[in-house]
Symmetry: C2
Subunit: 282 residues, 2 copies
């Protein structure tokens, strides 16, 4: 557990008095296909840390390393339905908190690798992963939601999922639209993302909360090992909280989201106003 | 000196037989206004390392921390003229090499923070810094050249200068246009760039050679300390060569530039083909 930045246990009224927002990343080790067990473990970890926003991994309840479309079909849930949604929504309601978690979405046209954002009053939005990684292309449709922002009581948030980080345009788009905080459920297997997120936050002057999973999962084309290192990063490229590479856990950081409204690098430089789009190829 | 990757002293015919390109970054400590001395020191370091391409710092001969427009005017040179250009062009001709170096360009309409690319046959192109940093805005016009690529015998190169790294669109534009190697003269004072360049190279699958200066320079609004750590980075985000934070020096890496033509992350992912520009805001 990382408790360095967990300075106090907030009451449910804390947003009324506090200017900071407490952001928690929950690092779990889901077992493929064991949705009930994975949900119970996630909730148990969430109970350990009082926060305003919780971010869980990509496909937090289902697991990742699928072997067949039948397996995917058996695990999929409709948006805003199912035991995980119900339990996490109840948690959000009781804590007056917000939760972003990855889930395997069943839609009429097929399956999406999705992330739900829910709050005390229910489902706020679903983001469908834009950039699919490797074997995800065998099972999921490419996301059609684009990069959207949501106005929450404490600030403006956006979502992206795992491999989206690789494309600078993803966080850039969220930041240009006004996101102050990017919620980033992940199942990282490549080593680069945790450090690269410092650059992503710095170049956009936003906070990011990457919740990654740990463990090794059999299946697919062979076992996959997930790299953990879930983290909260500041607009100045500082690691405010980070977990280790192999253990489950939860850690949180108190963040002044208003600082993400300032885009200055020096008194004469602003990362948005200094952009010279006439020279950029897209 | 970093000699780990300097495997041999190439002959002038080496490009005929070798598939790799040797890229050297030259880290100097220019003294403000002492162009002759700074040129002599740069040439001395270049003599220590046989390479195909040399990258020198931003404003390599002039220094950086200007106090007045009169000082800038006194130091400016026309493109493709002056003692530094003549000496570096002679060096390039004798070594059958290419050189990129930052210089203070005098133009009819004002001054630019520029980088010249020259080769055995003379001046190839001049890049004018797109994103000016801090007090540079007091003295320089914003660059109007945009991000261009140049077809050299060993591959396609592009140029950017120092603070351009902060904007992901700069290297993205060069990479999308076809650059395999980005030459990056710099005068870095903020700490982030050397590590951030790993992300820049990874997300674009290109090589980059950042030549930074060292030392502390009085002037301007107070002294500036430059962070060194000049480096050559691979398309896989590996540091192929890197110098220290405080000492002058030269280091080089043998690079297979053809590897920058491959944009694969996995057998199913390609960083360019996977882009979904319909969802990107610019």
């Amino acid at each position: 557990m990382c408790r360095i930045l967990s300075l106090y246990k907030p009451s449910v009224e804390r947003n009324v008095f506090m200017k900071t927002t407490k952001i928690a990343v929950v690092q779990t080790s889901p077992v493929l296909g064991q949705k009930d067990k994975n949900l119970a473990r996630a909730l148990s970890l969430m109970q350990e840390e009082a926060a305003d926003v919780y971010v869980l991994p990509e496909l937090a309840m289902e697991g990742y390393n699928f072997t067949s479309r039948e397996q995917v079909n058996a695990l999929a849930e409709l948006s805003g339905r199912g035991p995980a949604y119900e339990a996490l929504q109840a948690f959000a309601q009781s804590r007056k908190a917000y939760v972003a978690y990855g889930f395997l979405e069943r839609a009429k046209e097929g399956f999406y690798n999705a992330s739900a954002l829910l709050g005390p009053a229910g489902l706020i939005s679903v983001y469908r992963k834009t950039h699919l990684f490797d074997r995800e292309k065998l099972f999921f449709l490419p996301g059609d939601s684009g990069f959207q922002i949501y106005h929450l009581p404490f600030g403006v948030v956006g979502m992206m999922i795992c491999f989206d980080w690789y494309f600078p345009e993803a966080m850039r788009t969220l930041a240009l639209k006004g996101a102050q905080l990017v919620l980033h459920p992940s199942n990282l297997v490549l080593p680069h993302c945790p450090d690269a997120m410092l650059t992503r936050c710095l170049e956009n002057r936003v906070f990011a909360a990457t919740a990654n999973r740990v463990g090794t999962e059999e299946g697919g084309e062979g076992p996959l090992t997930f790299i953990g290192r879930s983290e909260v990063v500041s607009p100045r490229g500082e690691i405010l909280a980070r977990l280790g590479p192999a253990q489950e856990g939860v850690c949180a950081a108190e963040c002044d989201l208003s600082s993400a409204l300032r885009k200055d690098v020096t008194s004469r430089n602003d990362v948005f106003k200094d952009r010279r789009t006439e020279f950029y190829l897209t």
